[in-house]
């Protein structure tokens, strides 16, 4: 793949400081992201998958400087954008959009759907007042909503309809890059298919780049060029779609792929999933060494002591695991 990097993420760290105990008497740190490095290529769809709470949303937020990075860099158009303040960030805001996981909490309840979709268009002067109504209707139609929805309020919509409004609002900005955080997970499969087709069409037409956060591996496989697998705040593996699904190297990726359900009742009733043993460790006190060692079926002595290096194992295939020997010298 000869594409240029759109964004370079270098050793990104994000910690949250929280207070525990009934009176908030104990301070603690959530290690949400620890030393993440990867590139997002121009015009690609890069998906992030991994267990709930592993830091996918935090990655999306921190990349766009919506959460302050604790350490590390995000290089976009030659600038480290995570050190910019809100004012300096403004020129980049339109280009870099996010569709939040929880659309209800991000749509203003007092704004109609039309106002919500139209606001960024007016703010960034992407259409005149006269064109606005048509533009809103077109965006709503793109996500499968009739134009009359423009006069409704968010609470008057079903869960899936709100999710589509959030997508329309992001597209309204004519962005370069969109973080889609579980953006289609509340949609029925038919509407989901329609939105996926739309996202792929827009990508082809305008060279859009997506960071796609999702848990549905069939969808991920369908739309991604590359896929990154996260575990407890770190990247475990990142590879092209074919590599990752045909040739997974990391034990966690292998377990994840074995859990994908299939639309076949007899098979589902009788299958034995390779469910990981042991509890998911807490990001308040992550395990030493490889964070997966407490649940890894092939963990060795070294795994609890030394953090495995994030390295290239095969062409276009990064991994962090002591047990993987591919790509090592000798």
């Amino acid at each position: 793949m000869g594409a240029q990097p759109l964004m370079r993420i270098e050793n990104l760290v994000k910690h949250f400081h929280v207070r525990l105990g009934a009176f908030g008497e104990r301070a603690a740190t959530v290690h949400a992201l620890d030393d993440i490095s990867f590139e997002i290529l121009e015009g690609e769809t890069l998906s992030l998958v991994g267990e709930s709470g592993c830091g996918k949303s935090t990655t999306g937020f921190t990349l766009l400087n919506l959460h302050r990075a604790t350490e590390g860099k995000v290089i976009y158009q030659g600038k480290n954008i995570v050190e910019l303040d809100e004012k300096a960030m403004r020129p980049y805001r339109r280009q870099l959009q996010i569709v939040f996981q929880d659309p209800y909490s991000t749509l203003n309840p007092r704004m109609t759907i039309g106002e919500a979709v139209g606001e960024p268009i007016l703010f960034h002067k992407l259409a005149t007042k006269a064109e606005l109504k048509d533009r809103i209707a077109m965006l709503l139609a793109d996500v499968g909503l009739p134009p009359r929805f423009a006069s409704r309020y968010p609470h008057e919509l079903s869960g899936g309809q709100r999710q589509r409004v959030a997508i329309a609002r992001a597209l309204a900005c004519q962005p370069k890059f969109i973080v889609c955080d579980e953006a289609i997970s509340a949609l029925d499969v038919s509407v989901q298919a329609q939105i996926i087709n739309l996202l792929l069409d827009l990508q082809q037409k305008y060279g859009l780049t997506y960071l796609f956060i999702a848990h549905d591996l069939a969808v991920v496989r369908h739309i991604s060029d590359r896929v990154g697998v996260m575990y407890l705040g770190r990247l475990a593996e990142l590879a092209t779609r074919e590599e990752l699904f045909e040739h997974p190297l990391h034990p966690y990726t292998k377990a994840l792929l074995s859990a994908v359900p299939e639309a076949d009742p007899a098979h589902e009733r009788s299958r034995k999933r390779q469910i990981l043993q042991g509890d998911v460790p807490s990001p308040l006190s992550p395990p030493s060494g490889c964070r997966f060692h407490t649940r890894c079926p092939i963990a060795m002595d070294i795994c609890s002591k030394v953090v495995p290096e994030w390295r290239l194992a095969r062409p276009g295939h990064m991994v962090a695991c002591h047990a993987v020997t591919e790509g090592l010298p000798g």
Binding site: G53, G160, A186, D188, A193
Partner: protein, 344 residues
């Protein structure tokens, strides 16, 4: 986490007892142009110990149907006809005091939108403890202990520490699992789960499905599971109802639905599921057009404007849900499917 036994004995027909019986439920919304129908005389039922899956197009009325049963409908939306019986009592007519005992006690509810149903300024441990204190008479200390166990049960790491977190400090999937824990808190007879796993990864989804299976088999709990993920519930549910525009268009035992989907809408849904083996370049098939809006339903079959098989009769008359399989266990509301299955 433990695996529940995967193969369940078929429920013997004699042992069946209705737990939830919804008949002719009609939900209308007040609009500027007068009332408009959202849910059109829906019939649903769940037997004791049975698990019913509900699928259907976004916006077809799944959430409102479930909310109406608990009398939790938003402003301007109300039930105008029909009844919803739970254990022989009509939920629509029950006193508010009785209904409060049912809500969150005998009937556990997992809402679709965790951010709007969790209280943002209350620690989640407290939110979990409340129903335990109210419905089960636990002391504060007992309830806190149980709340910690529940969080562990739904697979939240560092459960005891997380009791003191506020909702915004949790990831999307953790919030969703807090909702699941609240729904399960009081060992309900009926669990209504509205898209409970949309924010969860496949491994945790599988754990939650196994957990619900286990509780169902141990406590004889009945379950209504609303989802768009047919693959996920394939191994969990006994029966599936497919909803379209506020009516049930197909009702079938789970195997029959997958082996022999009969309604054109069901067929369209199954064809839209991306397969792990698909190529990236292939376009996903989707059903053209959009569902009718409340107040603008077509005269005949509600699916007719989008249906590839529509005939003249479809635009004139509304097909009723009729049995086509053995003993009428498989029912479909479609003229063409009924004719085909009768001929077969």
């Amino acid at each position: 986490m433990m695996m529940a036994s995967d193969i369940r004995p078929e429920p013997t027909p004699k042992a069946r007892e209705r737990l939830l019986d919804v008949k002719g439920l009609t939900i209308e919304i007040e609009t500027r142009n007068g009332p408009a129908t959202i849910v059109d005389g829906i019939d649903l039922h769940v037997d004791k110990g049975e698990t019913l899956g509900i699928v259907g197009e976004s916006g077809c009325g799944k959430s409102l149907t479930m909310l109406s049963m608990m009398r939790l409908l938003p402003n301007k939306i109300r039930v105008t006809k029909g009844e919803a019986n739970f254990g022989g009592r009509d939920l629509q007519k029950m006193s508010n005091a009785d209904l409060r005992k049912v809500r969150g006690g005998e009937v556990g509810f997992i809402f679709q939108d965790p951010m709007t149903s969790l209280n943002p300024v209350m620690r989640i441990g407290q939110q979990l403890a409340e129903p335990l204190i109210y419905h089960r008479g636990m002391t504060k200390a007992e309830a806190r202990k149980r709340a910690g166990e529940l969080l562990k049960l739904v697979g939240i790491p560092g459960a005891e520490d997380r009791l003191d977190a506020y909702p915004h400090e949790l990831s999307g999937g953790m919030r969703q699992r807090v909702m699941i824990a609240i729904g399960l808190a009081c060992n309900p007879q009926l669990l209504i789960a509205d898209e409970p796993t949309t924010a969860l990864d496949v491994t945790i989804q599988a754990q939650i499905v196994d957990l619900v299976k286990e509780l169902r088999d141990k406590l004889g709990m009945s379950v209504v599971w609303i989802t768009h993920d047919l693959a996920l519930i394939a191994g969990l549910v006994d029966r599936i109802n497919v909803l379209y525009a506020g009516t049930v268009v197909e009702d079938a035992p789970v195997d029959a639905l997958f082996d022999n989907p009969s309604h054109p809408y069901t067929q369209g849904l199954l064809a839209s599921i991306p397969k792990l083996t698909d190529e990236r370049s292939t376009r996903l098939s989707s059903i053209g057009g959009t569902p009718p809006e409340p107040g603008r339903r077509p005269k005949g079959c509600p699916f007719a404007p989008r249906c590839p098989l529509a005939e003249q009769v479809c635009h004139e008359r509304v097909p009723s849900l009729e049995g086509v399989g053995q003993a009428g266990a498989h029912r479909v509301a479609c003229f063409v499917a009924q004719r085909k299955l009768e001929a077969a």
